[in-house]
Every structure is written in structure tokens, then in C-alpha cells.
């Protein structure tokens, strides 16, 4: 009576909820978001219509990689602390890449050879 159940695992129960799993497995990587944000405006394509996404996929937050059902909900999301934290993070230095790892290990920049003459 009142003892700990041997089959229940608090850690598993805590981490099995929706937000934690989404944050861990489904979000875009930081470098992908960073690349999208630094793309010039001409190359940014309009969001494609997708019936499987809320709001036909038109109300999207790139920093947090989330879709919203309408403009009001998305604008409400822009006021949240988590979103502001993401904005600040994306305005900081560029995320870590394999090139950074290679340079830190003592390798030089990759040698892509001379530009080939076009046909």
C-alpha cells in the first residue's frame, strides 16, 4: 500500500509526452533554420499549400519550425518567451558544422581544385 510500483518508470513517463518527443526528434536542425533565415528574399519561395498541415501550411514560424491554424494564433506565438529565445539564438553566431570540426582538429580548408572550364 503506497509503495513504488516496480514497473512504472518516472523518467519514461516524463519524456513520453508530445512536446518532449517533438522537440527531440522532429524539429529542424539549427543549421537548417540558420541557412533558411540567411537566404536572400528573392530565393524564398512562398509556402506551398498542404492540406495535411494546420491552416493549409500558410502560417509558419521558421525559427521554431511550427505551423499554426491562423494569423492570430501565430502572432500570439510570436510573443512567447520560447520564440524570443529562438530569435536571439538565431541572431547569434553560425551553428557548428563539420567544417568547424575539421578546422578545430588542425586541418586546413578543403581543396576543391581549380574551376573546370565550361563547355
Amino acid at each position: 500500500m503506497g509503495g513504488k510500483c516496480p514497473h512504472r518508470n518516472v523518467k519514461k513517463r516524463r519524456y513520453s509526452h508530445k512536446t518532449a518527443r517533438r522537440t527531440k526528434f522532429e524539429l529542424k536542425g539549427d543549421d537548417m533554420v540558420y541557412a533558411q533565415l540567411n537566404k536572400p528574399d528573392e530565393e524564398r519561395a512562398p509556402l506551398p499549400l498542404d492540406e495535411d498541415l494546420p491552416g493549409m501550411g500558410q502560417y509558419y514560424c521558421l525559427h521554431c519550425d511550427r505551423y499554426f491554424s491562423n494569423v492570430a494564433v501565430r502572432d500570439e506565438h510570436f510573443k512567447t518567451k520560447r520564440h524570443k529565445k529562438r530569435i536571439k539564438q538565431m541572431m547569434g553566431p553560425a551553428p557548428h558544422t563539420q567544417l568547424d570540426a575539421d578546422v578545430a582538429a588542425g586541418m586546413g580548408m578543403p581543396d576543391n581544385g581549380p574551376k573546370l572550364m565550361s563547355m
Binding site: 527531440k24 563539420q98 570540426a101 578545430a104 582538429a105 588542425g106 586541418m107 578543403p110 581543396d111
Partner: protein, 168 residues
């Protein structure tokens, strides 16, 4: 048989070791150990973890700018094989490695230049602050409360008998 670098800690990954993660935008992340892979899955930033090469580079603890780094690089364009050139390169590799090691040692020595002075200053400060805790040996003799009393213990004489019994 290409040697790669770990995405997280920048160690060398030899063939048959480590694990590789290919993301669905075809970007490849290589890890030398389960330690690095777990840190990656926890979304840690290598520049903020102190045991990684990226951290040491950002904080100036390792040499970052040197001409010997240019010899080791990823070459994405194959060269035509030249026997003389290959022999010269193989001969030059240990020499370049020796130069790099000596330069890294010099960098470390320069980084540690002010350390002895700093330690001396800290010792002086500690002495000034804690001088009241030190007592002279003559004071210990005069004041018996600072010294534990000597206790005499009698030793039993049974040991000699036991030794005698052992000899038999």
C-alpha cells in the same frame, strides 16, 4: 580508408569505429564514440563543452593559425599520380609533424608564461590573510592546552613467551 573527424569532439575516426547519422537533408554527422553521439542527441553545442577541440579553438587554448595546417586538408579533386612527388611527400610527412608539435609546445609555453607569477601572487595573498593561524613552536611548549598530553602505555611481557612457543 579515409580518416574522418568527429562532428562533436574533432577526434580522428578510424575505419570500423564510431557511428554516422545522415539527416534527411543529406547532411552527414560522424561521431567517434557513444559519448559524442549522446551529446549530439542532447543538442549540446560543441563550442560550449570544454573537452572538445572546438571549445579549445574558440577560447584560444590551442594553436589556430599555422602554415602546417594547410598540408592536411580534404582534397576534393584527385591529382594525377607522380611517383617522385609521392616519395617526396612521404619523406616530408614526419618532418612536418615534428615542426607542428614543436610549434604547439611553444604556443603552450607562451600561454603559461604568466602562470608562475600569478601563483606567487596568490601565495603571498594567502599568507597575509592567514598569518594569524600560524603559531611558533615555543608557544606550543609554554601553553600545555595546545598540546595533547603524553600517555604512557605498559607493554605486556606475554609476547616473549609466545615467541618462545613459536620457535618450538
Amino acid at each position: 580508408m579515409r580518416l574522418e573527424k568527429c562532428w562533436f569532439c574533432s577526434s580522428t575516426i578510424y575505419p570500423g569505429h564510431g557511428i554516422q547519422f545522415v539527416r534527411n537533408d543529406a547532411k552527414i554527422f560522424r561521431f567517434c564514440r557513444s559519448k559524442c553521439h549522446k551529446n549530439f542527441k542532447m543538442k549540446r553545442n560543441p563550442r560550449k563543452v570544454k573537452w572538445t577541440k572546438a571549445y579549445r579553438r574558440v577560447h584560444g587554448k590551442d594553436m589556430t593559425q599555422d602554415s602546417t595546417f594547410e598540408f592536411e586538408r580534404k582534397r576534393n579533386r584527385p591529382e594525377r599520380y607522380d611517383r617522385n612527388l609521392a616519395e617526396n611527400v612521404l619523406k616530408a610527412i614526419p618532418k612536418i609533424d615534428k615542426i607542428r608539435v614543436s610549434r604547439e609546445e611553444r604556443h603552450h609555453k607562451n600561454r603559461m608564461k604568466g602562470k608562475k607569477e600569478k601563483l606567487l601572487k596568490e601565495a603571498v595573498k594567502e599568507l597575509e590573510q592567514g598569518i594569524s593561524l600560524v603559531k611558533a613552536p615555543s608557544v606550543l611548549q609554554q601553553d600545555p592546552s595546545l598540546t595533547l598530553p603524553k600517555i604512557k602505555v605498559k607493554v605486556s611481557q606475554q609476547q616473549s613467551e609466545e615467541n618462545h612457543a613459536m620457535e618450538e
